[in-house]
């Protein structure tokens, strides 16, 4: 559907460097990256608003170099929604249809349908600057869909929404994607959005494609240490594989020995990655956990995260766990408490650490 073949695109301080991607028909494709990584430029490149300095962009199998945005049949929704302030909601939605010279009857009917589908009929004659963020968002999506594109580009669509509106909108988007035969490309820096909506994910760091793949592989099994960090994996321990047998390896980090399920060879420098939510806490000496990794340590700090609590533990190396707040209360934990932290060997992901790559 959309293909990037070694695309390089510079624009001011933003730059994409030789990015190659394949977005397939029907994908809900997420492009993740830190702010300033060139994600918006990438979307504008797909829309035809910037031409790449080198490489090719293919749409629906065709090289689109020289095809202006108005003939690409791609809709783009910006983070700030960019509703036309001098037009009413209905006129904003009708804009694209008028540009396509649709007859008045079609325009009216399509606008009515969209107003109804997005529950914004009451806003028909309002001007955009009088709308709330969530309302503006719905108008912007309705306007983008009015021209019936087969590709929809979304630039950080959730960043300006309050949590409740955001939840609702995530569901709406899932529905839109399912019912309207759309290929959606969304850029964001928020990983949780990708985890909930994406069918495939690309990660762009400093203008370069750092990873591309299915949601599971990108989030649970990042290929590099940098990627693991960007993915927000809280515990990343560097070490060396000291023994390997029967798919089970032992990694010596200096401060601890970690047991993981992996086929990597003995002697390799690796990073052992696991998420804080995969760590379970218990009192030292209590049996019952089947996990093969257990580290004893002292709690150093608590950070509340909504219903969860992020617990920092000193086990000779820093370790982070997230547990339910209730658990903290029930166990009577406080800074200074001794706990044992367990992680299953099968959940630890090993990735070659930087040193091995540079060797």
């Amino acid at each position: 559907m959309i293909e990037f073949d070694k695309v390089s695109l510079r624009l001011g301080t933003f730059a994409l460097k030789e990015v190659s991607l394949r977005i397939r028909l029907g994908d809900f494709y997420f492009i993740l990256g830190p702010s300033g990584a060139g994600k918006t430029v990438l979307l504008e490149g797909i829309a035809g608003l910037h031409a790449p300095q080198s490489g090719r962009i293919l749409l629906r199998g065709e090289d689109v170099a020289g095809i202006p945005p108005e003939r690409r049949r791609i809709s783009l929704v910006y983070q700030d929604y960019s509703l036309f302030p001098h037009m009413t909601v209905a006129k904003n939605i009708a804009f694209g249809l008028k540009m396509q010279k649709a007859d008045r009857h079609t325009v009216e009917r399509r606008v009515e349908d969209l107003l109804e589908a997005f529950g914004i009929g009451a806003l028909r004659d309002r001007h955009p600057l009088t709308l709330s963020g969530g309302e503006q968002q719905r108008v912007a999506i309705a306007r983008a869909l009015a021209v019936e594109p087969d590709i929809l580009l979304l630039d950080e669509p959730f960043s300006a929404l309050d949590p409740v509106t955001k939840e609702k909108f995530i569901e709406d988007l899932r529905e839109i994607h399912r019912t309207r035969d759309l290929t959606i490309v969304q850029v964001t820096h928020a990983r949780d959005e990708a985890m909930r909506l994406a069918t495939r994910v690309a990660v762009i760091i400093e203008g370069m494609l750092a990873a591309e793949g299915g949601v599971e592989e990108i989030f649970s099994a990042p290929e590099t240490c940098d990627l693991a960090r960007f993915m927000g994996i809280e515990n990343i321990l560097l070490g060396r594989i000291v023994s390997s047998s029967n798919h089970v390896v032992r990694v010596d980090t200096g401060a601890a020995t970690i047991i993981a399920v992996s086929d990597l060879a003995e002697g390799m420098e690796v990073a052992a990655c696991f998420r804080a939510e995969d760590v379970t806490l218990s009192f030292p000496g209590t049996p019952g956990s089947s996990a093969r990794n257990t580290f004893e340590g002292t709690i150093t700090a608590f950070t509340p995260l909504g219903p969860l609590m992020r617990v920092s533990i000193d086990c000779g190396f820093p370790l982070i766990a997230t547990v339910l707040r209730d658990t903290v209360k029930e166990m009577g934990l406080s800074p200074g408490s001794r706990v044992s932290a367990s992680v299953k060997a099968s959940i630890i992901h090993l990735t070659a650490s930087e040193q091995t790559i540079t060797d």
């Binding site: 108005e70 809709s75 910006y78 700030d80 302030p85 001098h86 540009m99 001007h127 983008a144």
Partner: protein, 270 residues
Amino acid sequence: MHSRHRVFDPCLISFSLIGGLIIGLTVLALLNMAVKQLSDIPFLISTATDSGVINAIVVTMGAGLHAVLILLIIGTPLAYVLARTNFRGKGVVESIVDIPIMIPHTVAGILVYLLFMRRGLLGAPLYEMGFSFEDAYPGIVVAMLFVSAPYYVNSVREGFEKVPVHFENVARTLGATRFQAFMRIVLPLSVRHIVNGSILAWGRAIGEFAAIIMIAYYPFVISTLIYYTFTTSGIKASSTVAFVMILACFAAFIILRLLTRYTGRYDDRV
């Protein structure tokens, strides 16, 4: 007694007093003239109804309007290009736009004269075609156009720059060509800057003297008439003509401001 506490900011107060000098000077100059003029109403009326004076005012304002109409057509595209593109040598182009602001008006007048006089680079071929600029209405328009263009272009360019480029981008993905996006999005959102730029340019045009007399001493624009009256009939007669012009300008600007008061208010953003 004191139900409200006002906080007097010493900085704002001293700034107001100092800045008030400018306002004071203008008001004093106007009052000084008004008092003298209003003490001889019959002479004022006879001057105001003099056909020479009326002609000069009509020529001045009309030529200014023509200059602005030409600017709307040729200055608007230039303003858009300067607002939306980056190219090598853009700084040079911007400096060229500003040249009429930087140089003395007599110099501007000579530049215009040399180009548009009967034997001038552009004047000669145009004279062949039947257009004469020397001592003619088109000469006044050209001189006004030259000196007022930067005010229009810079003001409109600023307006275009304030329209987020995202609006245009969205319009284009929705099927609008660049020109359609310009006409339907950028232009309506810049109306206020276009109006302000036009008023600024018009004001600049009708105030021009030096650049105009170089190429067109006749027909008299108001400034030429005031200067002529000053040198032939003295200060009293010329200041009455000047006062009539002040009244005419005030009236024109007030009407324009009232008419355009609510134009393009939707681009009011904080």
